[in-house]
Structures are given as C-alpha cells and as structure tokens.
C-alpha cells in the first residue's frame, strides 16, 4: 500500500476524462442529469462543445451514444449504475453490443456504498447484466490510479465497455508506478493457503482480511481482478491451484458477478473449494456505507471468517 489518500473512483474518472478530452477530440461525453455526481461535469467545463446533457432519459442516452459511435466518435456515457445498465439494458444489448458500437458506459454509484439513497439506487446486478452481453468489456477499478489508467485503456481499445465506479472515497491499493493492463489480474499480496480474488471497493478490505488471517498463521494471497471480462482465466487458475482454495469478494450480488465468473472458470478447469463474499441475493437498504458493509458481510472480519470456512473445505 503506497499511501492512504482517499479518492472516489468517480472523482478520478471525471478528471481523467477531462484530461483525455484535450488529447483526443473524438471523445464526447453524455450524461443524464447527474453530471455533478458522476463527475462528467469536469469534462463539460473543459469541453462544452463535446458534452451533451440528455436529460433524465437513459434509454435515449444509450441510443444517441450508439449513433455517435458509428459516426467515429468515442462516446462515454454516465449515470448511476442502476439506471445506466438496468433502465437501458435492452438499448445496450441491441444498439450497442449487437452492432459492437464503440460506446463506453462509465457508471458511478455502484453497489451498496451508495448508502442512504437505499435499494432503488444501489446497483447489485450490473456486472451480471453487462457480463452476459457478447463482446462487452467489463472493468471494475479498485482505486483512483487504476481508474485513470482504465479510462485511458478503454479509450484506446475499440468496442463496447462497461466501467463500474463507486460513490465512496477509497484507499489507494496500487503502488504509484502501477501499470494497468486490461484483462490482466494483479497479485497484490502473495500467499499459499487461500487465494482471495476481489474487485473494486472490496480490494482494500480483502487486503485487511489477509492481515487478520496472517495473525492466525494463514497466508492468504490477494489478487485484484479489475477486468471481469475478458477474465484472466490463466492467472486465476494458476493462483487458485497453488493455494488449493479460493474466495471471491465483491460489492455485488453473489449471483452473476466476479464470484460467478471465477466459479465458472475454476469448476471447468481446476475444481477446488471455493466460497463467495458478496450481497447474498437480497436488495440493500438505506444506511451509512459503513453500516451497510457491516450488515451485508463485506468487512475485513467477515471476509476473513469466510476465508477460514473455505480453508476448512480443503480437507
């Protein structure tokens, strides 16, 4: 861990996008009346001619982005994750993914750490929705540095992509010299007893869980799986094989997200004991982010407990 400065991934996204907009005139940005929250307001201020507020109309926003993309623009569209992926799902499917349009859906306020707004605003199935679309790249950055580089990488690649961002400030988990590589898992902490695969907001608590486990003599490896699709299968199989047990940790329903992706890979290639940490197929509720993480078992203590259960299954 390099430093403890906390920045929300949405903040990093806004700044990175505004900077990239100066270098690349093809970038255009669309928002649905949430630019101050998604931080696309930074781009709007810097490049007003290439920013389009679509109003509260997410389905239209996705379609307009598709039209811009097939006209050689690189549109980034932003809203809250629940609306960007859920409200406009069929538009993403038929107007973006099917024609393989170069639209980047950068959604903020993913997961329960949205907090007080409650279940209607807490996207817990967005990774599942996006992952099921052929050709869709899905990225969940863990910190500000990774977000900046992911935005640049998604601009460089051609094709539809989903970038999942959070509302809450997060600790930096990567070193300052970190280099983001799309589709590549990152080993943050070596270990031989259990492999913990985490993404986004859950990378930091997973590292803290590994500290707790170390106190009990358990060496947990922690890996950041920032790209859910395409998944770094070789990396996951290798690390899980070395450890003999695996745990996934995500701020998402345990159905359809990182846990499912890793389980599919391991079951088909290297079946080993595995458990999933996530929101267990329920809707969230209002509350402070810290209280919600506690309630739904997404704390370092809860992660370490589940890791020990997975370890026990090794026998």
């Amino acid at each position: 861990m390099s430093e403890n400065k906390k920045i929300a991934t949405r903040e990093a996204y806004g700044k990175a996008l505004a900077d990239l907009g100066s270098q690349n005139q093809r970038i255009v940005v669309l928002d649905a009346d949430l630019s101050k929250s998604t931080k696309t307001c930074d781009f709007a201020a810097a490049h007003p001619d290439r920013f389009f507020n679509i109003g509260i109309a997410e389905q239209n926003m996705i379609g307009v982005a598709a039209g811009l993309a097939v006209s050689d623009k690189i549109p980034f569209v932003s809203s809250f994750a629940v609306f960007a992926t859920g409200r406009a799902y069929e538009q993403i499917r038929n107007s973006v993914a099917y024609p393989f349009a170069n639209v980047k859906i950068a959604a903020t306020h993913a997961g329960i750490t949205v907090g007080e707004d409650g279940a209607t605003h807490q996207a817990l199935e967005d990774i599942a929705l996006m992952r099921a679309l052929p050709g869709m790249t899905v990225v969940v950055p863990a910190d500000a540095l990774e977000t900046e580089q992911a935005v640049a990488a998604l601009t460089q690649m051609y094709g539809p992509a989903y970038l999942r961002l959070g509302r809450l400030s997060t600790s930096t988990v990567n070193m300052p010299d970190y280099e983001f590589r799309l589709g590549k898992g990152v080993l943050l902490r070596p270990g031989k007893d259990i492999a913990i695969f985490a993404c986004g907001m859950m990378v930091q608590p997973s590292l803290e869980a590994a500290d707790l486990l170390a106190n009990e003599g358990i060496a947990a490896a922690v890996a950041n799986i920032h790209t859910i699709k395409p998944l770094d299968k070789d990396f996951i199989i290798d690390l899980a094989s070395c450890c003999g047990a695996a745990l996934t940790v995500e701020e998402h329903n345990i159905i359809g997200g990182l846990g499912s992706a890793v389980a599919e890979t391991l079951v088909e290639n290297k079946p080993i004991p595995m458990l999933r940490v996530g929101v267990e197929d329920v809707f969230g509720q209002s509350g402070s982010p810290a209280a919600l993480l506690e309630t739904y078992g997404l704390t370092p203590a809860a992660i370490s407990q589940k890791a020990k259960r997975a370890l026990a299954m090794k026998k």
Binding site: V28, Q59, G63, S71
Partner: protein
C-alpha cells in the same frame, strides 16, 4: 444504375420484396410495401451516397427504425448496387448476411443495426450530432412506423432532437394505421401524431406517402428548415400494391405462399 422513373424503382422494390419473402417463407410484407415509395425516393434520388464506398464518411445515412421493413431496404440497396440482387433469395436463411432485421456488420449500405422498435431515432440523433460536430453537410434520415410511436424512447429522442435543433435530421413516419394486433387507434392510439410532433418542437409535414413527387418535395422543404428537426408524416397503405395485402393487419409478419406471390408479382408487373 439504369435510368428509370422513381415509380418504377418503387415497383421494383415491391417486386423484390415479394420474391424474397416467398423464397424465405418468412418476413414482413405489409410494412415493407408501405415504405417502398419513400425508400425509392431516398435511395434513387435524394440520398448522397456511393454504393462503391458504403462507409464513405460524408454520406447521408438512413436509420430504418422500423427494422422489420428490412426486405424493402435490402431490395433498395441491392437495386442501387450495394450487393448482387441474387443474394436477396438468402433472406433469413442460416448464415446469410440478410438477417431478419438489418445488421450493419453484415450488409453493406445498412447504416445501423435495428429491429427493436423505439431505438432508431435516438441513434439517428447521435449521427446528426456527430455530423454537426464534424461540420459535415450530410443529412440523417430515419424511418419510423406509426405503431412505433407507442414506444416511450421515441419521445425522449423527439425532445432531444428539438432541444439540440437538429436541422440535419429528417424523419418519416410510415403512417399505415396498422400494427400486429390491429388498428393503431384500437390497440393504443398514437394520434394525433401531427399535433404531438409539432408540440415537441419539430417542423411537421403531412403527405401522401405513395406520391414520389410529394415525398421529394417534402424532403426539400425539410432541408430549408434551419433550426428544427423535420418530421414527414407519410400517409400510406399497409401492403400497398398487392390487392389482397392492402390494409390487412394479418400481412404484417406473414410471407406469401407461392401462388400468392405469383399473383402479387402479376399485380406489380
């Protein structure tokens, strides 16, 4: 492309539509036949396009919002020289580039993949914004069904086009009055369409959608508008040109049998 009056091209689009539907034993004749004259005017007169260079960046574009009229679009494109006419017989067959609804990745000349109603006008708006950003003089055309106006997204796009003053956007409504379950006014009336589009800030014209002169004139009048998107509500007959298909909702998505196709082709001779 041989010299022919637009009415002849429209008739040829209708003939090819009937032939390919009969060959595939599947597809949508009614809304293809009602749109034939509009497509003939666009592809054989008004659109600035180059079949030798289908992705020419300064071309005019058409989004076929009512993607189920794909047979008519495929006929127009093949007749215009985008691909060989013989390929039309492969409509809807496994491995064919001619999917049931248009796929821009497979068919040269198709500017957008469509098929899910309500989505196309938003895409056309995006194209119009991009053309304006790039200071291109091209026009973006969109062809909607009248039943398609029941989709809420159409009105989101309608609002946006007026808000951003997309005067390079010219849309048609193929106003044939029928949808799968019957009359649009019985199923869920989208009327009064003229007043609605005008209220949403569009320059609205209403014409006979089977009169090529009226269609061409409406396009020119639309191009004269400098601060509004243009809507051309084209009154049409579903199944136009084939006596037993005209104004029959049942011919929305049903292909003619061999003897029916033969009769249709005789009527369209």
């Amino acid at each position: 492309m041989p010299e022919k009056p637009i009415t002849e091209w429209a008739k040829e689009i209708r003939r090819q539509t009937i032939s390919m539907l009969a060959a595939s034993a599947s597809g949508h004749p009614g809304g293809s036949l009602s749109l034939a004259d509009i497509l003939a005017v666009l592809y054989f007169d008004k659109m600035n396009i180059d079949p030798q260079n289908p992705t020419w960046e300064k071309r005019d574009r058409l989004v076929l919002c009512k993607g189920h009229a794909a047979p008519a679009l495929y006929a127009a494109l093949a007749l215009r020289g985008y691909f060989p006419l013989e390929e039309l017989a492969n409509l809807r067959k496994l491995g064919s580039k001619l999917q049931g609804h248009p796929d821009m990745k497979k068919v040269p000349g198709v500017d957008m993949s469509t098929g899910s109603l309500g989505q196309g006008l938003s895409v056309a708006c995006g194209m119009a914004l991009a053309a304006r950003l790039d200071q291109k003089d091209c026009y973006i055309y969109a062809a909607l069904g009248d039943g398609e106006n029941q989709e809420g997204q159409v009105w989101e796009a309608s609002m946006l086009a007026a808000h951003y003053k997309l005067s390079n956007l010219i849309a048609f409504i193929d106003h044939n009055g029928l949808q799968i379950d019957g009359l649009t006014t019985d199923v869920m009336s989208p009327e009064p369409l003229e007043e609605k589009w005008r209220a949403f800030g569009w320059f609205v014209q209403r014409i006979d959608g089977h009169d090529p002169v009226a269609i061409a004139q409406a396009i020119e009048t639309a191009k004269g508008q400098k601060d509004k998107p243009a809507m051309i509500i084209a009154d049409t007959v579903k199944g136009k040109g084939v006596s037993f298909m005209e104004n029959v909702a049942g011919w929305h998505g049903q292909a003619p049998k061999a003897e029916q196709a033969e009769q249709a082709l005789q009527e369209l001779a």
